[in-house]
């Protein structure tokens, strides 16, 4: 049995409401909330970045896995906001947590699905008996240009998953990937903010790849939507995952536990991984979880998990995502948010 032996998640305390952003740009917050199904989003603190978020999430994963960090043979971080263009994010994480130095480390990038790529490869290495444990992390301090629709969604957070063969809490039963060259969203070197092709990011990109991956996964597993307790999809906004779920025959009940985006925003590479963490926080033995990510450019990774008896032993060992999402919030106004996100250019 190969699967998740420990997981952890992290969200910053800071929030900004849709109203605060809309006010700045003369937009109608009610129309945005209705249209995008977004209410507020997380904002990274001034000392937070993809690396610190990864460290926090990985700490939770280690607590739950209760393993010797030295036994982790690989650590991969998927993100659109690695703090350095050249210099790995993972080296800081391994040294902070006592992992390595006998460890394979890499930074992944594939828009919003870099996190599930990290999970996928961590799983593959363990399954191939290359190592005992491997960790995959999806984390982001997402970028959205001021005034762009993305500014209402781009948020911060992440989740980490340790794959292994002993004391598995969620076995991975099936995986799939579906990828094509579909340039719906991109950010070139030296650019601060991603560009996107409006509605083209919907049907030909998100829905085509995510829904196709979903169908392949269902076919491969010979399972039906009703066989799952939970379904988790990438969440660029509140509406898209619901529409995707509906297209495939998943119910609102199956989606709602992982549907954290209205209050969290889109944590890009951390989006579906944080949703999976929210589901694992409450899942019961025997529950089946259906998860499909999406990354612009474009592609989707899919996983089917079977929750084991061990889940009960680990759920309370680290902070739960919903606790971070619902509590200890500090709301920022747009000015503070602009300062936190370094949107204000200062004289050095």
């Amino acid at each position: 049995m190969v699967g998740i032996v420990g997981y952890g998640s992290y969200l910053p305390r800071y929030r900004i409401k849709v109203e605060s952003i809309a006010k700045e740009w003369g937009s109608d917050p009610e129309a945005l909330k209705r249209g995008l199904q977004l209410f507020e989003k997380t904002v990274p603190g001034q000392d937070e970045d993809t690396i610190t978020i990864s460290v926090e999430a990985a700490k939770g994963a280690l607590k739950r896995a209760n393993i010797n960090p030295k036994e982790i043979g690989a650590l991969y971080i998927g993100s659109e906001s690695h703090p350095y263009a050249v210099k790995p994010s993972g080296t800081v994480v391994i040294d902070a947590l006592g992992i390595g130095p006998h460890v394979h480390v890499a930074s992944y990038e594939f828009a919003c699905k870099a996190g599930t790529e990290a999970m996928y490869n961590a799983y593959a290495l363990v399954k191939a008996d290359e190592m005992k444990y491997a960790m995959g992390i999806g984390a982001d301090t997402s970028q959205g240009a001021p005034g762009d629709a993305l500014e209402y969604s781009a948020s911060a957070g992440g989740a980490a998953f340790i794959m292994g063969k002993e004391n598995v809490v969620a076995e991975i039963l099936f995986t799939t990937s579906y990828t094509s060259d579909t340039p719906d969203f991109w950010r070139r070197e030296h650019e601060y903010y991603p560009r996107h092709a409006g509605r083209f990011t919907g049907e030909p990109a998100y829905f085509k790849h995510l829904v196709t991956a979903d169908k392949i996964l269902l076919k491969k597993s010979v399972m039906k939507p009703e066989d799952f307790k939970y379904a988790v999809f990438h969440m660029p906004n509140g509406k898209f995952p619901q529409m995707a779920g509906k297209k495939l025959g998943f119910t609102k009940e199956q989606l709602e536990t992982g549907w954290i985006v209205p209050w969290m925003g889109n944590t890009y590479s951390g989006s579906s991984p944080t949703a999976l963490a929210a589901v694992l926080d409450v899942a019961k033995p025997g529950d089946k979880i259906f998860m499909v990510s999406f990354g612009s450019g474009a592609g989707s990774d899919g996983f089917i998990f079977n929750v084991t008896d061990k889940i009960k032993d680990v759920q309370d060992k680290a902070v739960k995502l919903r606790d971070m999402l619902d509590n200890n919030k500090i709301y920022l106004d747009y000015g503070e948010y602009a300062k936190f996100r370094e949107k204000i250019i200062l004289n050095e």
């Binding site: 003369g26 937009s27 109608d28 129309a31 092709a197 409006g198 509605r199 083209f200 049907e203 030909p204």
Partner: protein, 382 residues
Amino acid sequence: MREVAVIGTGMTNFGELWGKSIKDIFVEAALEAIESAGVDHIDSIYVGAMSSGLFVGQEHLGAVMADYLGQNPVPATRVESACASGGASFRAAYHEVASGASDIVLAGGVEKMTDGADVTEALATAADQDYEVYQGITFPGLYAMIANAHMHEFGTKRENLAQVSVKNHKNGSNNPNAQFKSIITVDQVLNSTLVADPLRLLDCSPVSDGGAAVILCPMDIAKKFTGTPVRIKATSQASGTIALHSRDSLTTLDSVKTAAEKAYKMAGLKPADINFAEVHDCFTIAEIVVSEDLGFFEKGKGGAAVEEGKTAMDGLIPINTSGGLKSKGHPVGATGIAQIIELYEQLTGQAGKRQVKNAKIGLAQNMGGSGASCVINILEAI
């Protein structure tokens, strides 16, 4: 000059045609037109396109399209008059046939606007760069000024603008090629996103991809190809000031008035003789102003005419039975040709649920910029 007929038409769906290039779109429309006309060759091609260079980085469209249509070495020329490029393409084809220079001519129009270009910036190149665009004005801004002036001078109501959009969406719901087939309400228009006061999102025609093409030939051989040719009764074009501030009045489009006078004279008709019209409703206010300048309504009464249903399908003069630019879509260079296609379908009784009863004479009005160029064509059923 010889009498000229339209003998075949073809158009793509209008909308976000992400899977099709500008070549695919034009070729699809042109092949459909050639097939529907039943001609075995074409002598010449005109391609109306506003800004293919800025939208997709492709100029030299005449040669490009002749090549991809498999029509080398026939002459092919791109015609540009901003948003009136399609109308101007049709007019050029008309003259080539009427003069006797060619017999079978394809007049087409195409635009591919959803490939990532800055559409507002590309469209703004049709305004006065020195005095308008550099100061930050865009087309929604220019038409918003016209709308404000019209409301101020004539008491036109904000709701009247919305009623244009509601009517055109209703008509477009019956057009299988339309981009937006949805029925909308006045409240939806009034509550849509503000673009340039008083114009809101649902007052504005959309960004679209699409192509349209028609085949023209001399009237005396038209029946050889089709049982349903349509006569081109008149064609006219006029220019007006490029910048809004140069005009005596913000609420009159001189190019439209002049082109209309010329077209009516050529056709030997009066405004009251027109059974239905396709007009350039790039913004809702444009339809109101144009309906006045074409002589359908007294100056200042265009808004009330919409409210009273005079421009509805069953009204005094149905306007934009196709859905207009607002609902059908506005792939700029294709629009003028698509208007001709609506006239053709109405005049040959092929408009289905949109059919205007006893449609004998139709007028198409296509304009560039804020009315700096205007092409009018009048077609007659045979």
